[in-house]
Amino acid sequence: MIGVPLVAYLSLGLFMFTVGAVGVIVRRNPIVIFMCIELMLNAVNLTFLSFARYHAVAARPGGPSAAESMMAGQMMVIFVMAVAAAEVAVGLGIIMAIFRLRDSIDIDEMSLLRG
């Protein structure tokens, strides 16, 4: 949007990432922890897109052109989305398997791998 500085988008991204990080540390429900990871991934996506729109580097010899750097940000967002989809499918499968094994999904009670 014309009239909105880059910093506004970046601040929203930073805020969402921080809230997601707090959620991962604080919450004990693994499903909510997954949601917080999605929140962090989306914050990064927003940052990629705003940099792609605002900071398209001016063409310099040897460097990427403005169009190339703008596409690079969007490509990264596409790949993040694909990886997030795969991650959620596998992660929720793991949660289902653990729930079936232990009838509880409290993250603090899972200490099988503790040495």
């Binding site: 540390i25 927003l46 605002y54």
Partner: protein, 178 residues
């Protein structure tokens, strides 16, 4: 034009402020609600508003795929698992007040302060998007498809293999007996 503390208040900025406020509140709701279904619904609101913000950044295809992939597929998967596990009222996890909560909040404030103090000030000058009308078409499906299948064809194939492994892995994990 109204000027507050050196920042021009444009109608677009007011609209962005509204969208961003609701998105931020929804993000807080994801973490703050004790009930997983409410967290999921807050996340849906957040993803919708992010899709709108992607539109304002001229990334139309990504805005649409945000709605389809995240709000459509991933959130349905989340709600499905919440209902399969039946984490209703009797099984709501009682969140304890232990050292993790203040520690997490302090760490987050330090992290946010560090990034906001180090990175954001140097980017204050970028007040408007690159004003090149030729770049406005770079969020269209044609442009993205052309780039995806020429420059980025190898990562694209790698991602397709990753998704295939994800499908097989989730079936393997979720099925009782194969």
């Amino acid at each position: 034009m109204i000027n507050v503390a050196g920042i021009e208040i444009t109608p677009e900025l007011v609209a962005f402020g509204g969208l961003a406020t609701v998105a931020a509140l929804a993000a807080i709701g994801v973490v703050a609600f004790n009930n997983a279904v409410r967290s999921a619904l807050c996340l849906v609101v957040n993803f919708f508003l992010l899709a709108v913000l992607y539109f304002t950044l001229n990334a139309e295809l990504l805005g649409i795929s945000q709605v389809i992939v995240y709000t459509g597929a991933i959130m349905v998967l989340f709600l499905f698992v919440i209902m399969l596990l039946n984490l209703g009222a009797p099984q709501i996890l009682h969140e304890k007040w232990d050292f993790k909560r203040p520690a997490g909040i302090v760490l987050a404030l330090v992290f946010a302060g560090l990034i906001a103090g180090q990175i954001l000030p140097s980017l204050m000058s970028a007040s408007r998007p690159v004003s090149n009308p030729a770049l406005d078409a770079y969020g269209s499906p044609q442009a993205i498809g052309r780039t995806l299948f020429s420059t980025y064809v190898f990562p694209f194939e790698a991602v397709s293999i990753l998704l295939l492994i994800g499908i097989v892995g989730s079936i393997l994990l979720a099925k009782r007996r194969i």
